[in-house]
Symmetry: C2
Subunit: 221 residues, 2 copies
């Protein structure tokens, strides 16, 4: 990162971001979304107060989060909306295409293939895998379903960087093992399991309990 990304900031303004905590990185996409809202409202500049107001975070927290990645704002002038958005998208790697392999072509897998939200954001599902012989060889949403035995070979062949796991819990760990073996470093996990993966592999799960726990507050009010 520190050596890799281009920016219109001068060299001495760039701080290395290798020490940005993971939870801060996880907040950046929210910033990108809020910036898109300000941009859609034709706002040219935005303050950390305005960003904080949208995200219900203190302005100091916003400034601290952003400071891990560079100096984007001018004291008292706030942030240029378009520029900060472009910078954050670049930092997050959202300005390029990512090839995604989907494992599990059941109901959920089919819905994922059909999901219209991925491609506009640069995530292209280019391969699908299943263990069921009756599904292997068929085409789902224009994608040929391969055997999960072909994961490693296909990841190399199609330059796949991201895996999406949509298999039953009982099969999930073996699928994770296969993805790790194939060199995949980022996995979106729909299976309700806590997979074992090496430290350099990122897994984002749908955590249903966490989601439920933030709704019960409103039920009991």
């Amino acid at each position: 990162m520190a050596n890799g990304y281009t920016t219109d900031l001068s060299e001495d303004e760039i701080r290395p971001s290798t020490d940005a905590p993971e939870v801060v990185v996880q907040r950046l996409p929210l910033y990108v979304r809020v910036l898109a809202q300000f941009d859609a409202a034709d706002a040219e500049m935005v303050s950390s107060e305005q960003l904080g107001s949208q995200l219900h975070m203190t302005p100091a927290q916003i400034r601290k989060d952003l400071s891990y990645f560079g100096r984007f704002g001018k004291q008292g002038r706030g942030y240029n909306v378009k520029r900060l958005s472009l910078e954050l998208r670049s930092i997050l790697g959202l300005d390029r295409q990512w090839n995604v392999g989907l494992i599990g072509v059941g109901r959920l897998g089919r819905a994922i293939i059909a999901y219209p939200g991925f491609k506009p954001e640069g995530f292209h599902v280019v391969a699908a895998f299943d263990a069921d012989p009756s599904v292997i060889g068929s085409s789902v949403g224009g994608i040929d379903v391969r055997s999960i035995d072909q994961i490693k070979q296909t990841v190399a062949e199609l330059d796949i960087q991201i895996g999406i796991v949509a298999v039953p819990a009982s099969n999930a760990q073996s699928v994770f093992d296969a993805l790790v073996e194939a060199g995949i470093k980022a996995i979106l996990n729909y299976a309700p399991v806590a997979p074992q993966v090496p430290q350099d592999v990122k897994v984002r799960g749908v955590d249903p309990v966490l989601a439920l726990q933030s709704m019960t507050y409103f039920l009991k009010s």
Copy 2:
């Protein structure tokens, strides 16, 4: 809330929490988890600095978030781990049982029924629904699968407060409509759609794009 929850704080220490922003409420379960880690490490007291360090949030942000719900800490002494955890669990409604209805008994739905993480946290899946006549009437994980036409009647009969939607995208909105019609106010959505619901109904979705966007950062480093 302001009138409803019991606590060992004296009356004048309790601030109404009706104005707690939703994103702050969404952070509370994370606090509960981190407090459980401190408790497991036999820590009696914890400071906003220590909590902030675990969550990579500024101590001021932690204190501000908690201030929406009451005055939990003593200046300079920090928070009592067990007490704060109990208070937050009470505030979030995690100290009781919630009855959950699952709609969609495909692969994902079956995995949700089998997921061992719900019950220890108080979420009991007490009913399952599907549109497929070949599945209706069967038993999945000890739960009888009913027709989705029976949602309203079953919600009333079994005192269901939460819905989990695990149907294909094409069927999702009609399921949301049925849950809303049945009086459900909290829905966990696994379908890759943005459902239309009334303002007083909370929906937590798995947002796959947001999850992917927070991983690509690590891929490009």
